[in-house]
Point group: C2
Chain length 345, copies 2
Amino acid sequence: MAEKAVRAGVVLRPHFKTHQSVAIGEEFRTFGVSAIAVSNLDMAEAFAAAGWRDITIAFPVNQLQVDRIDGLAAGIDLHLLVEDSQTVRLLEARLESPVGIWIKIDTGSGRTGLTSDDPRAVCALAGTIAASKQLRFEGLLTHAGHTYKGGTPEEIKGIYQASVQAMRGVRDVLEGAGLAGALISVGDTPGCSLVEDLRGVDEIRPGNFVFYDATQWRLGSCAQEDIALAVACPVVARHPERNELVVHGGAVHLSLSHLPDERGAPMYGFLASKAEKGWGPIIDGALVRSLSQEHGVIRARPELVKETAVGAVVTVIPVHSCLTVNLMREYRTLEGERIPCYPVH
Amino acid sequence: MAEKAVRAGVVLRPHFKTHQSVAIGEEFRTFGVSAIAVSNLDMAEAFAAAGWRDITIAFPVNQLQVDRIDGLAAGIDLHLLVEDSQTVRLLEARLESPVGIWIKIDTGSGRTGLTSDDPRAVCALAGTIAASKQLRFEGLLTHAGHTYKGGTPEEIKGIYQASVQAMRGVRDVLEGAGLAGALISVGDTPGCSLVEDLRGVDEIRPGNFVFYDATQWRLGSCAQEDIALAVACPVVARHPERNELVVHGGAVHLSLSHLPDERGAPMYGFLASKAEKGWGPIIDGALVRSLSQEHGVIRARPELVKETAVGAVVTVIPVHSCLTVNLMREYRTLEGERIPCYPVH
């Protein structure tokens, strides 16, 4: 991802909400990364304490945190996300330290942001920001989360490109209105993974690609062997009569993120085969079919159920690595090193 | 629940996996509770350290933890759950301290346990346990989780009663085989909440009833005003054109537990109205329609969206209080007191 960003001349500002770990954050520095995105103020404070000096909180400003935001902005280059003028006025009235401001644009995901279909509303808000003393208008930011609904890699690339085009369209209108120099920040892992040529924007903010997961593999964003995170689950019961194993690995470990199985029913993770170190390929027909708080029920081929003893450990590839990490709160590397992740929301 | 248990002459052994809190655990003592259930060894150790001396780990033994189990059993009256003879033999070979052993019975939930339809298999396992020196065979334990699929309170009561009958049937077969005195432990919150007369078993283990939640309210296990847990979520964006609010309250706060909305689509929590202290009734037509890692999207009536400002705080009643507590890890009482919950899985 870092090489691709360099090739395109765009800034890679990885989203650290996926790993939430200072140690893993340090690995990014070796790839030339010095700017990061996070999804809340606690995380921003934690990474600032770990020496990161250029942080975007890529989540609309929580007005109740304005004093803490001001405190953090005194020490680092802090960038905030807004989408309404009331919040802009509050920041202007209450912040003493300068901050960079991005406008959140919705290019079709439908979650939040000002729609790219109404550039004049964006112009109005950008004008309010630009007129402020402490607030520095920096640009337009989007998360094209609808790439996750792309059925094929080609479709995902099409959604990504359409999103970039929409962002450039809004920027052109801003320029026409005398607001030149707005940067464009995009960044979803499927789009950034699949699109080869990332030119046309100023910054990308993928996060999940640090580990990938079953969702990304299904989408075609990564190969199986790119998945760098799994949960080791002890087998606590066997039910050969229905081809099932029960593991200690439930909703409090894997999260309830799910994908459709071959019949459209929800499934919560794949089983990976054993390997001398780590794990091997995903096992055909072996998946987590249901979760309760601590139980995971695995459906597998009769041979696998037969040969797996109670007390064995199986490897589950999670559906959504970000939520799994948030629940597990500690990594163990294949070398046995334990790495904490921040208990911050 | 405590009064109902006393009336029926059954032991109330509340499941502490819901609240995971020493302080809330203490409240149970004032109702005469001295025995508890937990769902993993970490939790058992934490509550043992807080002075609880009679603990059932109501989850099949994880063989990899046998040494820690032995350590804990040296200090308290520890009860374990098994469902296979291999685990029984391992416990017998490795434990030095005595433990109580319960056999996990599946009365129809289909998650795990020996089926109540095959009492002879239960007899065989009970015989193996009874023949052991350190292991004390105590009885039969079930979680009739299929009550959660009951469409009406009458159906739930029927499932509960059928489950109790099945357990008594297995006990009768044990008695016939010379294994007299087996106790019966049951305990799901819907069944224990709705059934008035709890006679016929020895112990109940409901957990969720400490707070209840949207799921229990939908099932009819509780009234709205019995729900004692909500998440305060700051509003960070408004979309009046589509009757939506965006809050800082996502999958890492509420969990992805969901219920069907009126059209069968998943929904992740209800909005409650304001009250002078705490919150008031659930607002008609206001619910969490989608979650991402930190965003919650709320769909509500136009008037509510219109009158709710960015920066306001809304109250979300979670779908599943156990998973929400596990994610939030700290309570704030209506008096402003902060209560930690164990960061244990």
